[in-house]
């Protein structure tokens, strides 16, 4: 029988440590495929902060890994990149980690044009801690800390990271994609490749925000979760490229 696919080398064959139906496994694989295709595994360093992605620290990837404090991944990656400018350094963070507690670190890494890449997985909830409201929880959505649904008066509005950061001079590439549809998955892979290219060409900071789900904490089936991204999330968080610096195309 002909083998038409294989496990990308950067991804270990250990069980993916996430809940059933969680798209993290897909996004891990996309990152790993890009690293393999670009042949950069030997010089890659991934920074995993606190959240569900912490579970990937020891046994999920087959290349150098740094675990960071909650929200501090962009600062840790900055330290590593300044130490070793020829390595590929990237962070893999959730929306709570990146856009709430890590807001200062991400804004300033972007503003400095730090030559690192961030992959922000946006599922609009704190998954690891059990389903609390995140900075990207949509209006009206229920979470354990917004039990009556997010409302403007009490909780304010969901943060639009790509829109914010694309106003800065430092970023070279900013895109939002989704990991819940086949075209979205393909675009996500392309965007990650472009983001790494921006870093390796020394063009500046790059970010790929990937819209995702959390069936466990949304209290929905994986299929219904995917439907919700299509019907609600993408309307508030449109996908596409927000910034592509000249020379990257």
């Amino acid at each position: 029988m002909e083998q038409i696919t294989h496990y990308p080398k950067p991804l270990s064959e250990n069980p993916i440590p996430y809940c059933p139906g969680c798209p993290h496994g897909i996004i891990h694989r996309l990152v790993s495929e890009v690293i393999e295709e670009m042949d950069i595994m030997e010089k890659s360093i991934i920074v995993l902060p606190v959240g569900c992605s912490t579970l990937a620290t020891n046994n999920t990837f087959n290349f150098d890994t740094m675990q960071a404090a909650h929200g501090r991944a962009c600062a840790v990656a900055t330290g590593a990149k300044r130490a070793l400018p020829d390595r590929v350094v990237f962070t893999y963070q959730g929306d709570g980690d990146f856009a709430s507690i890590g807001a200062a670190e991400m804004v300033h890494a972007a503003a400095r044009g730090e030559k690192i890449t961030s992959i922000m997985v946006n599922n609009g909830i704190y998954g690891m801690t059990g389903g609390q409201m995140s900075p990207c929880t949509l209006m009206g959505h229920k979470a354990t800390t917004s039990p009556f649904g997010r409302n403007a008066d009490t909780h304010g509005f969901p943060l639009k990271v790509c829109e914010m950061l694309s106003q800065l001079n430092g970023p070279a590439y900013i895109a939002r994609t989704d990991a819940t549809t086949i075209p979205g998955i393909k675009k996500t892979k392309k965007a990650i490749k472009k983001a790494f290219t921006a870093q390796m060409n020394g063009l500046g900071y790059s970010l790929v925000e990937v819209l995702s789900t959390c069936p466990t904490n949304w209290g929905m089936t994986p299929v219904d979760s995917i439907k919700r991204v299509k019907e609600e999330t993408i309307k508030y968080y449109p996908t596409g490229e927000f910034k592509v610096v000249e020379g990257l195309e």
Partner: protein
């Protein structure tokens, strides 16, 4: 030794770090140590290093984590409120066993306090500061020359034990100018490899993980024990200066700037026939417990007088070390006020005369 120059304390620390093979600085402005990052911003590019002004001390200390995790000698300098913001990262740095040097040019507190010399951060530096069971090696120089001299030691100890080292300086040492002798330049390329670093596998090895996370209690307990064994081992690195303790009846205990003032007091009091001595811990952790314990057991020693720019933080360690076998008296000034040598001589003399003596000024 290298050349002799006139330098401000904070700049001298920065140059000494570079000469110890450090090429990376991450920091955030705060008085009274701004001359250190300003010096680094000019000087590091000359030696092929990197200077980064972070958006906060929180970020700076996590950049330290990333740079140390990538295997480089790295330093930050800050002052009390800034160090409070760094304690989160210091706990992670200790937990992930990363070597780096953190200089605290201590100022008056709590809160915003002032920008004058103080020693109110002893507990924070010596007893942890951040969360969890960890220790930081703490060096407390008392002159600018010593501040320069301890920098190489600080980096060597950090690398040897894969542990953060805090240099507890103060506003006086940071701001004063003195003639100092600078050490020879160490080439970073000559430093030993760090095979544990997450600096890219580069086709040479399997992956490395920089981490303080362990979900299984039994496994984390093992990690805690391994680290505690290391901390016990570090006890042999105690550094302490003793002056006149061979025949002393009355022993000052002090560190940093205060100890330097006491050296003047000692000279004057010895000339008047008082048998005074000084124990000056250079490492605040590990603490010179044995030196103090041995002195407490000597019949000739009548009492200890601990002097600090605080309400008595090291005092607790002095009492523990001496098992209260001899009285441990205390005198402290706070808020950035530094006692004069006359003031301290008067306090010691009154103690010797058995008078009622206040424990502080005001």
């Amino acid at each position: 030794m290298g050349e002799k120059v006139l330098m401000k304390g904070a700049e001298a620390i920065a140059e000494a770090a570079i000469r110890a093979g450090c090429r990376h600085f991450f920091g955030y402005p705060i008085t009274p140590q701004n001359e250190a990052p300003e010096y680094m911003a000019r000087r590091l590019p000359e030696v092929g290093g990197s200077f980064t002004q972070a958006e906060s001390e929180v970020a700076a200390s996590n950049m330290l984590y990333g740079c140390a995790g990538a295997g480089k000698r790295v330093i930050t300098t800050s002052s009390s409120p800034g160090i409070s913001l760094m304690t989160e990262a210091i706990s992670y740095i200790a937990g992930a066993e990363l070597p780096c040097v953190i200089v605290n040019v201590v100022r008056g507190g709590p809160g915003l306090g002032d920008i004058a010399p103080a020693q109110g951060d002893y507990f924070q530096a010596v007893k942890g500061g951040g969360h969890g069971d960890y220790k930081t090696i703490v060096l407390a120089p008392s002159t600018i020359q010593e501040n320069v001299d301890v920098m190489k030691n600080a980096f060597d100890l950090a690398d040897k034990y894969r542990n953060p080292v805090i240099v507890l300086s103060d506003g006086l040492l940071g701001q004063m100018m003195e003639a100092i002798e600078l050490p020879e330049m160490i080439d970073p390329a000559s430093l030993p490899e760090k095979p544990w670093a997450a600096n890219g596998m580069m086709g040479k090895r399997k992956k490395n993980v920089i981490n303080s996370f362990e979900i299984l209690p039994e496994e984390l307990e093992k990690m805690n024990h391994r680290m505690m064994d290391k901390f016990v081992d570090i006890d042999k690195e105690v550094m302490v200066e003793e002056i006149g303790t061979e025949d002393a009846e009355y022993i000052f205990v002090a560190y940093g700037t205060v100890a330097r003032i006491i050296k003047t007091v000692m000279k004057s009091m010895r000339e008047k026939g008082h048998k005074v001595g000084l124990v000056r811990p250079i490492t605040l952790w590990p603490f010179p417990t044995k030196v103090l314990s041995d002195l407490a057991n000597k019949d000739s020693v009548k009492f200890f007088l601990d002097v600090e720019l605080s309400f008595g933080q090291m005092l607790e360690d002095v009492k523990l070390s001496t098992s209260c076998k001899k009285p441990v008296k205390f005198y402290g000034r706070q808020g950035g006020v530094v006692p004069s040598s006359d003031e301290l001589e008067d306090i010691m003399t009154r103690h010797i005369n058995g008078e009622d003596v206040p424990t502080g000024g005001v």
